[in-house]
Amino acid sequence: MKLELHKVKVTDLKWGDKTLFDGGTLYVNKAEIEEMLLEDERFAKVSVDFAKPGESVRILPVKDVVEPRCKLEGENEVFPGFIGDVDTVGCGKTLVLSGAAVVTCGRIVGFQEGIIDMSGPGADYTPFSKTNNVVLVFEPKEGLEKHEYEAACRMAGLKTAHYLACAVKGAAADEVETYELPCFAEAMKSHEGLPKVAYLYMLQSQGLLHDTYVYGVDAKKILPTLIHPNEVMDGAIVSGNCVSACDKNNTYSHLNNPVIKEMYARHGKDFNFVGCIITNENTTLADKKRSSSYAVKLARLLGVDGLIITEEGFGNPDTDLIMNCRKAEKAGIKTVLLTDEYAGRDGASQSLADACSEADAVVTAGNANEVVVLPKMEKVIGFPEYADIIAGGFDGSLREDGSIETEIQAITGATNELGFNRIAAYTG
């Protein structure tokens, strides 16, 4: 499977009569987007705004972030099961508006949405202070159930991302990246002497708005399965999560999964990257046992020597992470785990809800309980009063002067467990 990502760099956003791209600037027709989204009868109101790097702007409560992409060539369309049909993606050419993002913002669960600051100390913690954000703020029709509202917001983010990318078709790419991995028969014969490795990609699937979709299928209903990393780049995995903002994998980070990117970069040099296994994080013990055994069995069938395992979320999924690790190591497969920590505000508590001695190679995305003060921003997009009830915030988080005292847990993408950021932790 071969996929070319045609990356067009967006360096600025401006309102325009027509949505188009010119000289690095993405012109956005606000009315057209609002009209398009209001076709969904579940919304009472939709407003579109911009948040650019360096501005004194705060966005909250943030639900998801999506990178604008669309297919240029090849089968189907991005976000299969939502925008595209359910057929296979991951081949051909895909247009990427790099440097731009669609941020969806709405009062869904409230305490499980996040904060994005475009400047100040909070900006250091979120990847989305560096993107030019088209922010969608939703208000639902009265009486709309939360899960319906979530589905509507999810769809609106994907639609807008696809709409923006489509408007840029024809623009010259600043950069073309090519990603290709062969079929297994060929992969197994290639790169003799290098260890065979795979990526075990854990997807949040605790349910009740803690959901991830694969080709439109709710991930808690899947058995672990194989996925080509290129499919992920075309939006085969979509976030439907309302969990703590810091370590849920928003759709943007699935599309740009840095583990996949880095494994591609080292493929053929340090190891033979044969593919990805996706698995879920269901809540029952039977599901956890079944999925961890099944995922490790797939790794054994592939005959890999090593697995990188990434977690999504924390607490309950820590047990899935540890089961995956222990079963893989017992099968002779070397593992490295990517997780984050909940070591308490003082950092003195045990970081994960589970542990095993086999987990001797762990990379941490930091302690999500660290408290920071986010100073007042000149402009707030969304609903600032939600600072008090966002996970990681606490009563009084939003101070009278407009600043927010909160755990970094409340910051979108702060401790992303795909290893998106530089943040880490040590024992001091």
Partner: protein
């Protein structure tokens, strides 16, 4: 103006005497004494030892609360900006005193502290969370290596400079997770570590997992009617008045008490020493935590042969794993020596 530092040392390093002078009472002297001279030099003029407080190790160990109070008063009189204690190397009582003094200074005077100890000094486990403990050799031969590290750490704190990782700064980890921004993103660090692990090269995990003992349960008691059963609790039930002063949290000891002739516990005879839960119901009827009444009934009914008439108790509230392990091993041995068949362990 130079920062004011007070140095705490024991009778031996003060030149007062050895073990025969270990009951030496707290005393303050102006300026640096003994190892303080080298420390003063290492502080390099930015900070100065304005006074030294000396105490005998036995005096401290035998009169902890009183000694701490006296020492704190003597220290406070110098109006210090920071306190350095030791280094104590592998001297257990001295290490404990250094740690306790630093902890009290941090809590009461709210100023930076540093001490130094050998890794296996019992003071390390007790106080590593409360103060920076510089890792030293096991004897005074390590003095010249320890002093500059201790001086640097106290100066950094005084200047409000960030303290780096334990291996960079030379202190024993306090066990606190601290965030920082690494040079590379997590995914790149993970793949780097992965390649090293695949090649069998050394790598350092970023999160050393706590590893817990997994104790396989014993087989069930085959014949209860022939069994002697004991009670052990971490719920803190003690004879009224807590005669051995088991701490309400972070227990450093356990109690061993007779139940000979006791049919049932009562609010008049027993209470809980535990500080981690609402004690109302345990104090009202201590059998709720240590079910002596039920055990006696089972004994009378012949369900069990005998109720063991000694119970063991401690407080599991923040008590260190090291202490809990030690208590557990000792209690288990005593129960085995007394031919106890099985034990019921109750929590809070």
């Amino acid at each position: 103006m130079a920062y004011r530092v007070v140095h705490y040392i024991n009778q031996f390093f003060a030149g007062v005497g050895g073990e025969e002078k270990a009951d030496y009472r707290p005393e303050a002297r102006d300026g640096a004494v003994g190892p303080g001279l080298a420390l003063n030099g290492a502080l390099g003029g930015d900070a100065e030892i304005v006074g030294t407080v000396i105490c005998g190790d036995s005096y401290f160990a035998d009169n902890i609360e009183e000694a701490k109070k006296q020492i704190l008063e003597l220290i406070a009189k110098f109006e210090p900006d920071a306190v350095v204690a030791g280094p104590a190397f592998n001297a257990g009582r001295y290490g404990t005193a250094c740690g306790a003094v630093c902890e009290a200074v941090a809590n009461e005077l709210n100023i930076p502290t540093v001490t130094g100890m050998y890794e296996e000094n019992p003071g390390v486990d007790m106080f590593k969370k409360a103060t920076y403990i510089v890792k030293t050799a096991d004897s005074a031969r390590g003095m010249k290596d320890a002093i500059p590290v201790m001086a640097k750490l106290v100066l950094k704190q005084l200047r409000g400079e960030p303290i780096g990782k334990p291996e960079e700064e030379g202190y024993i980890p306090k066990g606190v997770r601290i965030n920082y921004f690494a040079d590379k993103i997590g995914a790149v660090r993970a793949v780097d570590m992965f390649v090293k692990k695949l090649k069998g090269e050394p790598y350092t995990t970023e999160y050393p997992m706590p590893v817990f003992d997994r104790v396989p349960p014993n087989p069930p008691v085959a014949n209860l009617a022939e069994a002697t059963i004991a009670l052990v609790t971490s719920g803190g039930i003690v004879p009224k008045g807590n005669p051995d002063h088991i701490e309400a949290s972070s227990a450093s000891k356990y109690g061993e008490y007779s139940l000979a002739g006791v049919e049932s516990l009562s609010a008049e005879t027993h209470e809980t020493a535990h500080g981690g839960y609402d004690p109302t119901y345990a104090n009202e009827n201590p059998n709720r935590v240590l079910p002596v009444d039920v055990m006696r009934e089972l004994e009378k009914e012949g369900v069990i042969k005998k109720f063991h008439e000694t119970f063991y108790t401690t407080v599991g509230n923040g008590t260190s794993v090291a202490n809990a392990k030690k208590f557990g091993a000792e209690i288990a041995q005593k129960l085995k020596d007394a031919n106890v068949t099985a034990v019921i362990v109750t929590s809070t």
